[in-house]
């Protein structure tokens, strides 16, 4: 039965994080020196504190030490964290999502036994999925509605004489790379006599794996990222992952939730300010012009959140699509196009209410616009996402 009630745990979780953000994150995050869109060190103390609250392992199943949170709960949490600090939200969401896919789904029991304890017990242990390569073009673009060639992976894994896998190649734009202690790396390899793409577990901290952090100005995502170079990087034979690699190809729902958090932060600032700032003898919220602007902002954010949550629900419950409760459409991609567009607009509208303060680097509004702009351009961008959506409408389903 259709129900929009959250569970008591979800609401409690939300309150807890909202409180944590208000009390601990926000006071640090809105310090002028943290608002510049330049290089900003990750707030590692707060990141660790949030980890210790269980947010790093939230999606991991309870029997493995996590909270077994579903995609919806993860989105709720990511949004609340992002209201405080997008980068903390992104790093935690990434590790949490990967921990579930990796430890609950992809790994063999032996792999899990070998690697889970270190991960579960270390608040600074993050995960990263190193897949994209510098020359890869994942866009549809000109190939819209045409057959596309299979993506090729330049990174190679070969067998050493001792049975080890030896990886060579470069991955770029890898979220969490600079803080990850364990990587999942995609590479071309011959397994059981057949060549193809495979996944390998590669621990950080060995000289044959080097990470070069990306300048923040170059990021198309929040958190922290970097390029990963593997130079004759040896990993044990058992570090080959035999599970279904497609599990990693899901749309990153938490990105959208973080996007919502940015919009929320801008909206909350604007709403508060509009009740303080006086113009023509009245608070600006008492003017029709401000009222209309605030209504536009709240509508678009609220509608966007509802759309993101539905995409999250659909990812947790594919049966809701198969029983036709939900439409058989790329709901996550649609949510992303809508949300990123709406939040960018909302952040600009919110900033406009602040006048000149809306463009000052020591004030938060310009940062929200900048953060929303990063979401707008993330992935392959909305123009490409629309082509993908249209292919689905035309009956062309991605494999």
């Amino acid at each position: 039965m259709y129900s929009l009630h959250l569970s008591a745990e979800q609401i409690e979780f939300r309150d807890m994080i909202r409180d944590f953000v208000a009390q601990e994150v926000k006071p640090v995050a809105i310090k002028p020196e943290r608002l510049e869109p330049l290089e900003q060190p990750l707030l590692t103390d707060l990141l660790e504190k949030a980890s210790s609250m269980g947010l790093r392992t939230m999606a991991l199943s309870e029997d493995k030490g996590g909270a077994g949170a579903d995609a919806l709960t993860s989105c709720i949490v990511a949004e609340e964290l992002a209201v405080g600090d997008v980068d903390i939200a992104a790093v935690l969401a990434e590790t949490s999502a990967l921990s579930h896919i990796l430890f609950d789904k992809l790994m063999s029991p032996a792999q899990r036994e070998r690697l889970l304890p270190a991960f579960a017990s270390d608040d600074r242990f993050h995960l990263a999925y190193a897949d994209r390569e510098p020359e890869t073009d994942t866009r549809i673009g000109v190939a819209y509605h045409q057959k596309r060639a299979e993506g090729r992976i330049a990174t190679k894994a070969t067998r050493a004489s001792n049975g080890d896998w030896v990886l060579n190649g470069t991955k770029s734009g890898v979220p969490n790379a600079p803080v990850a202690k364990l990587f999942i790396v995609s590479a071309e390899a011959e397994v059981d006599g057949k060549s193809g793409p495979h996944l390998f577990i590669v621990p950080a901290g060995v000289p044959s794996l080097t990470v070069r952090a990306m300048p923040q100005a170059k990021r198309a995502f929040h958190g922290i990222g970097g390029a990963v170079t593997l130079s004759d990087c040896h990993v044990p034979a058992d570090n080959l992952i035999k599970g279904d690699a497609a599990l990693l190809d899901t749309v990153r729902l938490h990105d959208m939730a973080i996007n919502l958090g940015i919009g929320r932060a801008a909206y909350e600032a604007a709403l508060e300010y509009s009740g303080i700032r006086v113009q023509g003898g009245k608070c600006i919220i008492e003017h029709q012009a401000t009222a209309t602007r605030l209504a536009d902002i709240v509508i678009s954010l609220d509608v966007a959140r509802n759309t993101v949550w539905r995409a999250a629900y659909a990812s947790d419950h594919p049966d809701a699509v198969s029983d036709r409760s939900l439409p058989d459409l790329p709901l996550a991609a649609m949510a992303r196009v809508f949300t990123s567009t709406a939040v960018y607009r909302a952040a600009k509208d919110a900033a406009e209410l602040f006048g000149a303060m809306g463009v000052m680097r020591d004030m938060p509004l310009q940062k929200y616009i900048h953060d929303a702009f990063i979401c707008l351009r993330s992935g392959d961008g909305n123009a490409d996402a629309k082509l993908r959506i249209a292919e689905t409408l035309a009956g062309i389903r991605p494999a």
Partner: protein, 392 residues
């Protein structure tokens, strides 16, 4: 009806284009990247531009200036902004001076301030309106005497004693002379309570406060101005005491010029954005084909060019109307609309770069510069102000 330029206009346009291509654009991104907001200005660029006449372009010829008309002003601002929007503004900011001086200042004031301005290539000007309590009430003055300008001047013999602050003042920290709206009557509504003063940088009791760290237009600095018993001679009053707002609707109005300035500058940014996108579409490939072959790129470039050409047509018409002294709501309308157009065009340019997988710092800079228009040219108050003129 004639859209052609005369030889002088064309010559100024070409000179500005060359300066933008050879000096402004090559320096643009480097200045933008400087983290300290007080260090972004490059006095060498100001000097070079000044020697070419851009700083003094509007000063009457009898004082050694060039007295270019509004059409030429629009052309020059757009061309310079095509190189760097904030650098263009750094020059045109000095032009209000010429409008004010030729229309509103006394001969004595002209002698005392115009001569040093002409002689010094780094002599730049500013005008102070906004205060910590806000700027909108000064744009649409309410009747309440408590609203608006709080920087206070009290007469003391031949001098006035100023106390208070101005904030977000362009060139506030680097200018050598300022025009300031100062409250000279604490009990009257704004429109009858404000006097326009000329205040030199070295006025005792005046100091610069913080320099603002803007997300765009970084070359063009804004500062806080603090007045603590600052003493300004009565001889520095422009026009009538309590008459600043009466003046500002006539020919002496800086706003009249300001409307055109923001629209013409936006046009230059749009030109730069179109140029970037068209170049990219003609040269970059995706899936083995030039970007320009993709329909989604074509549609975006169509929109960018259509908006840019509409803005150009409107800007040039308003410049012409200014030259005819034909006052209308058009200057305000083109300024408001420039906000929507510069932002849409800059964002489409960034979008075309993004979907080509190219994170282009120039494209991003244009988006940041364009956002400046939101509060300078296109917020609700500014739009309503123009609308009320239409609806009168």
């Amino acid at each position: 009806m004639d859209f052609s330029l005369n030889d002088e206009q064309r010559a100024w346009q070409m000179k500005a284009r060359k300066f933008a291509d050879e000096v402004l654009r090559p320096a643009s991104l480097a200045r933008d990247r400087i983290a300290d907001p007080a260090k972004t200005i490059d006095w060498d660029i100001i000097k070079q531009g000044s020697k070419l006449g851009f700083r003094t372009a509007v000063v009457p010829k009898e004082y050694g200036g060039h007295a270019i008309d509004f059409v030429t002003q629009a052309l020059v601002m757009a061309e310079l902004a095509r190189g760097d929007s904030a650098m263009s503004k750094a020059f045109s900011q000095c032009w209000k001076w010429s409008h004010l001086i030729s229309m509103a200042c006394t001969q004595d004031q002209k002698d005392r301030f115009l001569k040093p301005f002409m002689a010094d290539d780094t002599f730049v000007l500013g005008k102070g309106i906004t205060e910590p309590s806000g700027g909108s009430d000064n744009r649409l003055p309410p009747d309440d005497p408590k609203a608006g300008v709080k920087l206070r001047a009290v007469r003391d013999g031949d001098d006035w004693i100023l106390n208070g602050e101005k904030t977000f003042i362009a060139n506030g920290n680097v200018g050598k002379l300022f025009f300031l709206d100062v409250r000279t009557d604490p009990n009257a509504p704004l429109r009858n309570a404000v006097t326009l003063f000329l205040v030199p940088k070295d006025t005792p009791g005046f100091r610069v406060g913080k320099v603002f760290n803007k997300s765009g237009w970084r070359f063009y600095q804004n500062g806080e101005m603090i007045f603590e018993n600052a003493r300004v001679p009565h001889a520095n009053v422009i026009g009538e005491v309590n008459g600043a707002y009466a003046k500002s609707t006539g020919d002496a109005s800086g706003d009249l010029f300001g409307d055109l300035e923001l629209a013409a500058n936006a046009l230059g940014v749009c030109d730069a954005a179109c140029e970037q996108s068209i170049n990219l579409a003609r040269t970059a490939t995706q899936g083995g084909k030039l970007l320009k072959e993709q329909q989604v790129v074509q549609l975006k470039i169509n929109r960018m060019c259509a908006l840019t050409e509409a803005l150009r047509s409107f800007v040039m018409r308003v410049a012409y109307e200014h030259d005819q002294r034909a006052h209308s709501a058009n200057a305000g309308l083109v300024m408001n609309l420039a906000t929507d157009i510069i932002q849409e065009v800059a964002e489409l340019n960034a979008d075309i770069h993004d979907s080509a997988g190219i994170l282009d710092e120039n494209a991003d800079k244009l988006v940041r510069d364009a956002f400046i228009w939101s509060h300078l040219a296109g917020d609700a108050v500014q739009r309503m102000k123009v609308s009320r003129r239409v609806l009168k």
